[in-house]
Symmetry: C2
Subunit: 115 residues, 2 copies
């Protein structure tokens, strides 16, 4: 498989029989999103990253940007807003795990934060 730039990709429609990412794909894609951690919660692998802000409303603005990205990609993360921090979790509900889509969405989340 050739290396790909996640930011140049879009999420594809995910079906219940879609393949989860393999360890080989994780090894290829994860270096593009170094701040993200793979965590297993309730038996389901997720990509999780916390972003820091100096106010609650700055965090809210980021929540709004990520939620609008989610609508564009038709792929919806769990987002938690606290004072000074927004935590984003991407995983693919239909396959109960990580799909290539989640790595694309994480890379685009990083890009929104950098703006």
């Amino acid at each position: 498989m050739s290396s790909e730039n996640l930011l140049e990709s879009s999420c594809e429609a995910c079906r219940e029989d879609a393949p989860r990412v393999t360890q080989e794909e994780i090894n290829e894609l994860k270096p593009q999103i170094p701040a993200w951690q793979i965590q297993t919660i309730d038996g389901i692998d997720r990509l999780i990253c916390a972003f820091s802000f100096d106010s609650y409303l700055a965090g809210l603005d980021f929540v709004s940007k990520v939620a609008n990205l989610a609508e564009e990609e038709d792929h919806h993360p769990e987002i938690t807003l606290e004072w000074g921090k927004v935590t984003i979790s991407w995983w693919s509900h239909k396959i109960k795990g990580l799909h290539r889509n989640d790595f694309i969405a994480a890379a685009k989340t990083d890009s929104l934060f950098a703006q």
Copy 2:
């Protein structure tokens, strides 16, 4: 103590030596916010309630309303946005537990949802 209407109150500045609500106060105030549960997480009591929505962006709109309420009251909850659901947790960080402010904020959250 006379009964009070939570919606007619505002959060007061909370100090580290402010009193947590007593069981007597909980018995008085909790019936005004029947959908909320008191949950203990990491040893800290919180008021938690989940609200349902039929789209992600409808949930985002509610997140925005609650976050702006939080700024007005200078009291900031943890808010989690998922597809179809927004979960709000109110507690008072400075006293590591529940203050009267949290019951006021929960009642105002219910009011925003009802709008």
